[in-house]
């Protein structure tokens, strides 16, 4: 996993609630057996019409918005557990997704792929929306070490599990941790009722 400590970037605001993983990457693109190349089909049916033409009104197609941060409505990533959704967002170039609340499986998938999910209070997200409407080029600072998001004179702290934070800062993953306790796992297995 790539290391992550701080990020300075502009953002793309996609202010829709309950965006499900079928929108993020439709099932017909899940036939690949690799982890790469999903970015081109990110939000496929919102980015392109049925003739494959670009939909100019969709936020990802608007030139004035760009950056490594995706800011979205609540309950982002609900529905299917497809990790392809996290791969597609990462492959497209986003490194951080901000929402009021994430769907559980999506959050875990994102964190396992170096895509940082940050949950912020509704009021703060609404403030971002308002400010970005006036100025699409706002620069955000994402500071993982001190756990805050900052733009202009606004700063908001966020929570992240200590272990996950360590994983991001050091670039390692759950498998490495699980391997370090292999002995414990083996001992446990012997007393497990369904062993």
């Amino acid at each position: 996993m790539e290391k992550f400590i701080t990020l300075f970037s502009t953002a793309v605001p996609l202010f829709i609630d309950n965006i499900d993983t079928d929108q993020i990457i439709p099932a017909r693109f899940l036939k690949l057996t690799t982890k790469s190349d999903f970015g081109k089909n990110l939000f496929r049916d919102w980015r392109y019409d049925s003739n494959g033409k670009i939909k100019k009104n969709f936020i990802l197609n608007k030139k004035k918005y760009s950056g490594n941060i995706l800011i979205t409505g609540k309950n982002f990533g609900c529905g299917s557990s497809r990790e392809h959704a996290a791969w597609a967002i990462r492959d497209y170039g986003f490194k951080v997704v901000i929402s009021n609340i994430f769907a559980d499986i999506f959050k875990q998938n994102a964190l396992n792929n170096g895509l940082l999910t940050i949950e912020l209070k509704k009021d703060f997200i609404n403030l971002i929306y308002k400010k970005m409407f006036l100025n699409p080029n706002i620069l955000f600072e994402i500071n993982l070490e001190h756990q805050y998001v900052k733009f202009e004179n606004n700063k908001e702290f966020f929570k992240i599990d200590d272990f996950k934070k360590k994983c991001f800062i050091n670039g390692y993953d759950d498998i490495e941790l699980l391997f370090s306790i292999k002995k414990k796992i083996e001992i446990f297995e012997k007393k497990n009722i369904y062993n």
Binding site: N75, E83, N109, F179, I185, N192
Partner: protein, 468 residues
């Protein structure tokens, strides 16, 4: 100390607590399928990590298989490669694989319970969000991503934050035409698409107690649609009776052990939940969805609610519907009966009872996709195939099919599909397809009528007996 069913199962599977929130959870069963496993095998290969317990993994193909001509080579090159990759990975690693030609092949959440591989009190994972289905057996069962599939393969464990606990109690009688699907849709309408986020649900009360295992599976299956990690029901005599009839029926000695396990799998009287809801089934009538997430649903004879915000406008525009409008009379050209929610033999039996000696409406195309080869076999052996044929319903071979529109079974652009599946998201059943979720009972009647009808009235006037 008083404990919930969830706590009992969870705590008996904790290998190690990493910190106050994260536990290392041991996994008893790991189901895999073609779409979310290949990258996990690849990852392990790359890191030179062997699979720790291949005997705890069960593989099948379901998401991306054709439901016609399954005996012929698969035409779609990518699909063919994806399925062959799973087969090869299973062969190389000594994993039990129920491929297309196998008698036990089917939708992963149908075959696990049906074969008796899912047992009470287990921890079960699968790279599929509807793994919550297995909670019907008192299991902690939940969907995971591909990175986690790799973790379980490597260590038979997962790092998991312990979810909060919710209890949903349902008491009362069942109104005419109300099935397990209507009950879970009703609960969804009350909690919304994120009402369960961060929670594990226990369904309790007389209504669930009275359900058979197929119905309980339908309920637990859709727990994920309110964002819950999973949903579970206390195992009881119904559970044990079901297990006795399975192909992998546990031998007498093991069955005694399971019986003993089940005795302890109850929520203690004074156990505490973080959140509790109580509903009364007297208020539930046959339900249908009108929007683009499963919680956007109403009683069939009610109008679409007015006064929601932007989301509702976007949804209704996609669905070609308006606020305040009635769905009654809406012409339906496609009916899909299938998916891990409603493709079990009990579902198909119910459909066959309703359509016996009837014909589908001319405008409708009806597809019945059984959940497994075993279900298919039962359909043939009990003559249900002839009832379906006479009614003009097309019986397909097992797979996920039009539930997720991954193979060629798709609903055309702009068309309404009355579907017994679990998701009505934009484009879920095909680009531009408009999904209305409902029970197999509603699906069968809609197929006969060719439009949405008042189910309660229909049952009364046609004197259909649908209750157990």
């Amino acid at each position: 100390m008083n404990k919930t069913l969830f706590e009992k199962v969870w705590e008996s599977h904790v290998v190690f607590s990493l910190n106050k929130k994260i536990d290392v959870l041991s996994i008893d069963r790991h189901y895999i399928h073609e779409v979310t496993s290949s990258q996990a095998f690849e990852e392990l290969k790359k890191r030179k990590i062997p699979i720790l317990r291949n005997n705890k993994i069960i593989a099948t193909t379901d998401h991306n298989v054709p439901t016609k001509n399954q005996h012929l080579p698969i035409k779609d090159v990518l699909s063919k490669f994806q399925i062959e990759t799973l087969e090869k990975n299973c062969y190389d690693n000594g994993i039990l694989f129920f491929g297309l030609k196998h008698d036990f092949q089917g939708i992963v959440h149908v075959i696990g319970p049906e074969l008796g591989i899912t047992l009470p009190g287990m921890t079960i994972v699968c790279g599929d969000s509807h793994t919550s289905t297995h909670g019907a057996f008192g299991c902690i069962a939940f969907g995971i991503g591909t990175s986690q599939v790799a973790m379980v393969m490597a260590t038979q464990c997962l790092l998991q934050t312990k979810p909060k606990q919710m209890r949903i109690k349902l008491e009362g009688k069942l109104n005419l035409g109300v099935t397990a699907k209507d009950i879970i849709l009703y609960i969804l309408s009350k909690l919304g698409p994120d009402g369960g986020t961060g929670y594990f649900i226990e369904y309790s009360g007389y209504v669930f107690k009275r359900m058979n295992m197929e119905e309980r599976m339908t309920v637990c299956n859709m727990s994920i649609e309110m964002g819950a990690r999973g949903g579970m029901i206390e195992p009881d005599s119904t559970t044990l009776k079901y297990l006795k009839q399975r192909i992998f029926y546990p031998k007498e000695k093991e069955f005694k052990k399971i019986k003993k396990i089940c005795k302890n799998l109850k929520t203690d009287k004074k156990a505490l939940f973080d959140k509790e809801y109580k509903f009364n089934s007297d208020n539930i009538y046959p339900i249908i969805t009108y929007g683009t997430n499963p919680s956007m649903c109403i009683s069939i004879s009610d109008p679409i609610p007015i006064g929601y915000k932007n989301l509702q406008i976007k949804s209704l525009k996609y669905m070609g519907l308006k606020e305040g409008e009635y769905l009654l009379g809406l012409k339906i050209n496609y009916v899909f009966i299938g998916s891990c929610t409603n493709s079990r033999i009990e579902d198909i039996r119910l459909v066959s009872k309703l359509i016996k000696n009837k014909k589908k409406a001319d405008n409708v195309y009806v597809m019945v996709v059984p959940g497994s080869k075993q279900v298919y076999k039962k359909i043939i052996n009990s003559g249900i195939d002839l009832i379906l044929l006479n009614a003009g319903f097309e019986l397909r071979k097992p797979g996920c099919s039009a539930c997720l529109g991954m193979n060629e079974d798709k609903i055309p652009y702009g068309e309404y599909c009355l579907s017994t599946s679990n998701r009505n998201f934009e484009g879920r059943q095909g680009k531009g397809a408009r999904t209305l979720l409902a029970s197999p009972l509603v699906a069968a009647i809609t197929a006969i009528e060719g439009k949405i009808v008042n189910i309660t009235e229909y049952i009364k006037t046609n004197t259909i007996i649908v209750c157990k």
